[in-house]
């Protein structure tokens, strides 16, 4: 077995040194009754190239974006990842260390995560960021729990234009802590209904949560929402599932957000059937001690050289145990580092360019598709790289027909919004060429 170096004679020498005759003796403390008497029911070992062949065959059963035109977003975005990211992240020095508990021999990871925290702040307009969370939905849930800790209140007002899975996960996390949720509807512009928000807000509310851009691609006007939340002493929580949008959209921090969380898989990592992903979590300095997750801080060594350490661990489970701000331990360092590579590769100009390109392509598509008989945009507000398309025909049937042309045309909204059962959510990124969009339009015209 190529992953297990010790040979029989190595083992024999070790057994002798230990003073036992067999490895079994080392397991003598396991009660006989619970010793497994048969081999595991796992297929026999495959050699490297048999296995690679098997995996290629398995992978070929999935329709990948190299072979299909994909217009799916909805919280998982198919952005281009520059080649260097994959090369750099495959360096064993990034791939194979543990969480940087020993700073002297972990400065690479630590500096990269410090850089990560920095750009998250710059992007979101916030003051502090942790070193990553699992992904966007659970980060949203953690934001709710943090708001509860900060305010001591149990109510949550959340927009129905927040990703349905983010809402589900928030409920799943929060219900055992007595948090109650109130959902507010969206308008015909495809954004959160601020009048309804105002009605829902009161002095029992810990936070108001919206998504930016929202699940329909709509661009919420954050400032008045922030004002409304702050008016009742609630925190304003903004979820960003598509951070590429922040290349051109005003930062949530500038609009009054108290906590910004989101999802960073689109920044260099790819879709990967939804994971691994990257939860980010940023807030204002005054709330640092309420934050979940790891924090990297800058300091100096005994000789005065700048360096980085994990810090403020007194918030965390391994120090505070049941009083910790969260139970999170392993998070998504490597994905955070990949996203850092992405952000540094793109720079301010690249982030602006890619955001603009998404905006323009989606606008082109919205315009093009909306002119086809039997299709029109469902909402009339501004959108980023996604929009809702109402179909005369059954959306499910439309999608099936598109599949025949190797086009995955979007998401049936019926799955999450019965009232939008006649709608598709269509996403267009910089990876969708105009030809693809035109092919989609043509296919829809014929479908």
């Amino acid at each position: 077995m190529r992953y297990i170096p010790n040979t029989d004679s190595d083992c024999a020498a070790m057994l002798q040194a230990i003073g036992v005759r067999s490895v079994e003796e080392l397991f003598a403390d396991i009660p006989r009754a619970v010793v497994l008497k048969r081999p595991l029911k796992v297929p026999p070992a495959l050699s490297e190239f048999e296995l690679a062949r098997h995996m290629r065959a398995l992978a070929a059963k999935n329709a990948d974006a190299d072979r299909y035109s994909v217009f799916l977003g909805a919280g998982c975005y198919n952005h281009f990842s520059p080649s260097i990211i994959n090369h750099l992240v495959l360096r064993g020095e990034f791939l194979t260390p543990y969480t940087p508990y020993q700073p002297e021999v972990s400065q690479g990871t630590l500096q990269a995560l410090y850089e990560y925290q920095t750009w998250v702040c710059l992007l979101t307009g916030m003051e502090v960021s942790n070193a990553s969370m699992y992904e966007g939905a659970s980060a949203t849930a953690e934001a709710v729990l943090m708001a509860q800790r900060v305010t001591g209140r149990n109510g949550v007002v959340i927009s129905r234009a927040v990703h349905p899975e983010y809402r589900t996960v928030s409920r799943t996390y929060a219900r055992q802590l007595g948090v109650s949720f109130r959902e507010v509807p969206f308008t015909e512009a495809g954004v959160t209904d601020i009048a309804q928000v105002r009605k829902a807000l009161n002095e029992q509310v810990a936070c108001l949560t919206v998504q930016y851009p929202n699940f329909f691609g709509g661009i919420e006007d954050l400032a008045p929402l922030a004002e409304a939340a702050h008016a009742v002493g609630a925190l304003f929580v903004v979820a960003v599932a598509e951070p590429v949008a922040l290349g051109i959209l005003k930062s949530p921090g500038e609009c009054g957000a108290d906590i910004v969380i989101g999802e960073g898989q689109g920044l260099g990592t790819g879709t990967n059937y939804g994971g691994p992903a990257l939860g980010f979590f940023a807030t204002r300095e005054k709330y640092i001690r309420y934050m979940p997750g790891r924090l990297v801080g800058q300091t100096v060594d005994r000789e005065g050289r700048t360096g980085y350490v994990l810090t403020l661990a007194t918030r965390e489970q391994h120090i505070r145990r049941e009083k910790a701000t969260s139970n999170i331990c392993t998070s998504e360092s490597l994905i955070a580092i990949m996203a850092t590579m992405y952000m540094i590769t793109m720079g301010p100009q690249g982030m602006r360019d890619v955001a603009l390109m998404n905006l323009r392509k989606a606008a082109y598509a919205k315009d093009r598709l909306g002119k086809i008989r039997g299709y029109r945009p469902r909402f009339d507000g501004p959108t980023f790289n996604e929009f809702v398309l109402r179909c005369k025909k059954k959306p499910g049937d439309v999608l099936k027909k598109l599949l025949k042309r190797q086009i995955i045309g979007g998401l049936e909204l019926q799955r999450f919004y019965p009232e939008l059962a006649d709608c598709l959510l269509v996403c267009v990124t910089e990876q969708n060429s105009r030809n693809e969009i035109d092919a989609l339009a043509k296919a829809l015209g014929g479908a």
Binding site: C11, N62, A63, V105, S129, E322
Partner: protein, 502 residues
């Protein structure tokens, strides 16, 4: 350091590298995008101006080679499994096979979207379904949810399901029993799930005694969270009895499966009476830790908990695989989409590489290596629980602290010798703990080199304690001022910061 001369550790050329944010020049670029093939409308024409920003101020402007150098240089400041022995106890720093990385990058796995129709993701679903079968058999359980993103996330999911189970039978109950050798995630998880924590002490043999559990077990206790093998590296040999006591009062047995690697193929939590257990794929199943994730923490369950699994589950209907969202008793979801799929691909690849006998042998050799270290350092370092161990052995600095040398000094000195330190000061019940987990992917020679270094350090502690107090000497930086870091938190670069390199 002449004294480390013939060991693995030495010094060589390294590169200073400031923060990326302190570098670059306006207008420099490292990216490329195609020319626009659609009308180049101004953003203001599509989005009200008040919602727009000028740009992301502060991001650096570098060229491609600058980015490559930045990350190549800083990467070299890291210790990692690919460079050497990493005996971090409880973290199972085994070798992370490169083949797994290749497989996870196949376009058919990497470039697929979670909302693609099922007929276009049959390969992904099949992989998940098969992985569930494998993990169920390894753990001796009935079902497995693949959704959780790490060990602690699995604990959370498991305890939520237990809570839902109790609720379905009337009330959620109030408390969870946790031995005090437990990892911090266990009590933290209990709190998030709305439970109080009842501590039980391990007995003199380092394991939980049935009596102690019986004393605190009552109708208010929802579950016990027991780590087995535990964080002392010991098998909880009363686990079957403990489970009976807990079950007797209607409680559930949750096992923290972080250390499953040492019993895989040899004994199964399901057979011990465990109702739910998370499996850390980034430990037992070789997926890389990446400096702190991504991981995955599937939870294996007994049948009676299955109705509460998060949605979707993966089901097989004839030759077809489907996602099942219609589970009325489900706790809901603990993350968006199905799972940390890329991590599952790696773990699946590992299991198919190892096969049944390989998995068992991994457990055996890991345990053999740990016991070998235990036997060779016995007497050199204090051994609070002198029994055969499983995946790891736990020493303390009791012998060295006589000369005022502490676990931290020993840990830092190991770096000079070219080794990563063990887990230190954990578990909390051992004062000055040194928790050493070699894993099965280390050869006897590597383990011997480590033992030799540990012995020399013990000697140095007597002969030259200053050397240890000022360790490490070989890495690029030495001990960090952690107090300053915590007292004057500096958690990000801000435009205007002085160059950190200065």
């Amino acid at each position: 350091m002449s004294s480390t001369e013939k060991t693995v550790g030495t010094r060589g050329l390294a590169f200073n590298e400031p923060l990326a944010f302190e570098q670059g020049s306006p207008g420099r670029i490292a990216y490329s995008l195609p020319a626009s093939d659609v009308p180049e409308k101004r953003a203001e024409a599509l989005i009200p101006k008040r919602l727009l920003r000028a740009g992301i101020r502060g991001l650096p402007e570098l060229s491609e080679v600058d980015v490559i150098r930045h990350f190549t240089r800083i990467s070299q400041w890291n210790y990692c499994v690919d460079l050497g022995f990493y005996p971090l106890g409880s973290c199972t720093m085994k070798y992370n096979p490169r083949l797994n990385e290749d497989m996870a990058r196949l376009p058919g796995f990497a470039k697929i979207h979670p909302y693609q129709p099922e007929e276009l993701t049959q390969g992904a679903l099949q992989l998940m379904w098969e992985l569930e079968q494998y993990l169920a058999d390894v753990s001796g359980m009935d079902r497995v949810t693949l959704q959780p993103s790490a060990g602690a996330h699995g604990e959370l999911t498991g305890i939520m399901m237990i809570r839902a189970y109790h609720e379905s039978r009337g009330k959620p109950r109030k408390k969870i029993i946790i031995p005090d050798s437990a990892h911090g995630t266990n009590p933290a998880t209990s709190t998030i799930c709305g439970y109080g924590v009842v501590a039980v002490k391990e007995g003199p043999r380092g394991v939980v005694e049935p009596k102690a559990v019986a004393e605190v077990m009552d109708q208010d206790v929802a579950a016990i969270m027991v780590t087995n093998p535990n964080t002392l590296g010991l098998f909880e040999d009363h686990i079957v009895e403990v489970a009976k006591i807990v079950h007797g009062k209607g409680g559930q047995v949750y096992c923290d499966g972080a250390n499953l690697n040492s019993v895989m193929g040899i004994s199964r939590p399901g057979d011990w009476g465990v109702d739910a257990i998370q499996i850390n794929l980034h430990k037992t199943f070789s997926t890389p830790h990446g400096g702190g994730g991504p991981g995955a923490g599937p939870v294996a369950l007994k049948k009676h908990l299955a109705p509460f699994m998060p949605v979707p589950t993966v089901e097989k209907k004839g030759p077809r695989f489907t996602l099942d969202f219609k589970r009325p008793k489900s706790i809901g979801k603990v993350r968006a989409f199905a799972a940390s799929f890329g991590v599952l691909v790696r773990a699946y690849t590992y299991i198919r590489t190892m096969g049944p006998s390989g998995l068992r042998r991994a457990a055996e050799i890991g345990v053999l290596n740990a016991n070998y270290i235990l036997s060779q350092l016995r007497g050199v370092y204090d051994l609070p629980y002198d029994r055969y161990c499983k995946h790891e052995c736990v020493f303390s600095d009791a012998l060295q602290s006589k000369t005022d040398i502490h676990t931290l000094d020993i840990a830092k000195r190991l770096m000079d010798y070219g080794f990563h330190p063990p887990t230190i000061y954990f578990p909390l019940i051992v004062r000055g703990a040194l928790m050493i987990e070699p894993t099965e992917t280390e050869s006897k020679e590597n383990v011997d080199q480590f033992i030799a270094a540990m012995r020399r350090i013990a000697q140095e502690a007597q002969e030259n304690p200053e050397l240890l107090r000022h360790a490490p000497h070989n890495p690029k930086v030495t001990r960090m001022n952690e107090t300053k870091a915590a007292r004057e938190p500096k958690l990000r670069w801000t435009p205007g910061d002085r160059h950190a390199g200065d």
